[in-house]
Amino acid sequence: MNIHEYQAKELLRKEGVPIPPGEVASTPEEVEKLAAQYGGTVVVKAQVHAGGRGKAGGVKLAKNPGEAKELGQKIIGMTIKDLPVQKVLVTPAADIASEAYVGIILDRVSKKPVFMVSPAGGIDIEEVAAKTPEKILKLPVDTRYGLQPYQANRLGYFLFDDPKKVKQAAKIMTQLYAAFMKNGCSLAEINPLVVTPAGDVVALDAKMVIDDNELDRHPEIAALRDESAEAPSEVDARNANLTFIKLDGDVGCVVNGAGLAMATMDLVKYYGGDPANFLDIGGSSNPEKVVNALRIITADPNVKAILFNIFGGITRTDDVANGIVTATKQNPLKVPIVIRLTGTNEEIAMKILQENGFSASSDMDEAVKKAVELAKGGQAA
């Protein structure tokens, strides 16, 4: 789960990371008021879950409250990478002597959180990694021991020579690591970490991504979710415990298992169609999940045919069959449905479907081809 910059900064402040003041506003008037309150030049920053906000015109300086209000009018309501900006962060502009990058990612290869720090901050770290890898220090942390003081020092010395700055930086490393662990992050980033002309090391921007699997034990973090930043159908699906991603095609897909769901989408494309979505009803499915899945998919006006592809393992295919029957009794379908199911309790499932007037196949390619044809308005073979 992504959280906004202002939320990430709040979590970092709790650990003691020095961050200049800032408040969030959702109307131009609020922006103006905050600018007046801070006095001097302020930065108005779009709060959206997208990188490259600056390049997209979502981060601007205002010299006075009047300018700030104008910027508020421009930025609030703009879209950055298809995402609507509904809030901006207003913060006093900082004087910058130098910029560094500090981040922690959960690394798949070392199977540890890995610090990445670079004195070349403020820019895209992937670009630095590709062009000048020697400017990046990578340091894995064994979470059983946590970040050790010597490691924090080493990271600090990679960024600075002046012992005073190293000391401040090392403290920030420890605080960033604490925030990463405490909040169940898969990424935590300060970019840029700046040195002010007075020699203070402070965080000017922050980004955090939370591991979705952590949200159950961190309800206070789960509460930070900004549903207005997501497609309504995806919010609906998540509340129904389904993994759903909306796409632009016309074949609505209901599949169990992420790998098979992706392979099904790919096969729709292979046979000349376009998937309308990724939808994984998961394991241990109960009929209710299928009812919700059908409701969400049929709410998409682009969907011209529905394709079920269920291979029962932990999912019992009879649960799915019961779900299809219940859902279509509640809300009769307006588009054709193609059902493919096989695996655990297949005989029972087939019987349930037949008794209720559905036909089902056990062949994936056949079912996908048929769904693609039906979505195109053709007759199924």
């Binding site: 699997n213 169990n256 098979l260 769901a261 392979a263 096969l267 393992g313 932990i314 994936m364």
Partner: protein, 290 residues
């Protein structure tokens, strides 16, 4: 022969009395797996299906049964503890089916398991099956048939799909392994490829990867440099949009080399066969078994 499990596998089930645990324990017993014990704290002394003794702890279960393998069906927030408990009790092969385990938990678990000299498969995986001998996990036994193709995959149901197609075409399997869809897992593609290379019964390998990470590229490199047996690969997620987590925690296009096209190119560069559809495995494998 086979990899990781065979007739000598003696299994305990952690979470044997839960909905999924009990359902799949029955299926494993029906398949012929030697289920020698179960663990559910508070139910020690009882019996599962009037046959399998239940213990309060894994240590008790191992002491009484000498089990060498454990399978875990406990809720996500308890999975890390269950894996640590199994490794600490001396279990050498631990299979964690549980989906949704916090990834940071795995950063503590993985090094501990390694230090104990145990192998972990999963989490968030369907387990594995050596057709006709033993199954540990949730792969439906009826779709498999004994033979000499090794199958390894990051996905559960996609594994079933391919195995089912192979079986329908009369191509049997030596062992089918689901390594799981999480970013940090206990066993990766290379571990399985190396085991298949050593296994005299395996003549060819079918491998199903997906978007995210670079495990497939590492595997392709391994195939090129260390394998004499033919490997056919497939990548799921060619139509996946970048930056979105496609169900599996690890299936997200971000960073270098994470796209389906990158991985397919690595397979081709390693001289592997590339299946464009799951059904293509049948022909590609058949051609390589001749």
């Amino acid at each position: 022969m086979s990899i990781f499990i065979d007739n000598d596998t003696t299994l305990i089930v952690q979470g044997i009395t839960g909905r999924d645990g009990s359902f799949h324990t029955k299926q494993m017993m029906e398949y012929g797996t030697k289920v020698v014990g179960g663990v559910t704290p508070g139910k020690g002394g009882q019996k599962f299906e009037e046959k399998v003794p239940i213990f309060n702890t894994v240590a008790d279960a191992v002491a009484a049964t000498n089990a060498n393998t454990s399978v875990i069906y406990v809720p996500p927030n308890y999975a890390a503890d269950a894996i640590l408990e199994a490794a600490d009790a001396g279990v050498k092969f631990i299979v964690c089916i549980t989906e949704g385990v916090p990834v940071l938990d795995m950063t503590r678990v993985y090094p501990f398991v390694k230090e104990k000299g145990a192998r972990l498969l999963g989490p968030n995986c369907p387990g594995l099956i050596t057709p006709g001998k033993s199954k540990v996990g949730i792969i439906p036994g009826r779709i498999c048939t004994p033979g000499n193709v090794g199958v390894v995959s990051r996905s559960g149901t996609l594994t079933y799909e391919v195995v089912y197609q192979l079986t329908r075409a009369g191509i049997g399997q030596s062992t089918c392994v689901g390594i799981g869809g999480d970013p940090i897992n206990g066993t990766n593609f290379i571990d399985c490829l190396a085991a298949f290379e050593k296994d005299p019964e395996t003549k060819a390998v079918a491998m199903m990867g997906e978007i995210g990470g670079s495990d497939e590229q590492d595997a392709a490199e391994f195939v090129k440099n260390h394998m004499t047996k033919p490997v056919v690969g497939f990548i799921a997620g060619q139509t996946a949009p970048p930056g979105r987590r496609m169900g599996h925690a690890g299936a997200i296009i971000s960073g270098h080399g994470a796209t389906a096209a990158d991985k397919i190119a690595a397979f081709e560069a390693a001289g592997m066969g590339v299946a464009r559809r799951p059904i293509d495995f049948v022909e590609l494998i058949q051609a390589r078994l001749k």
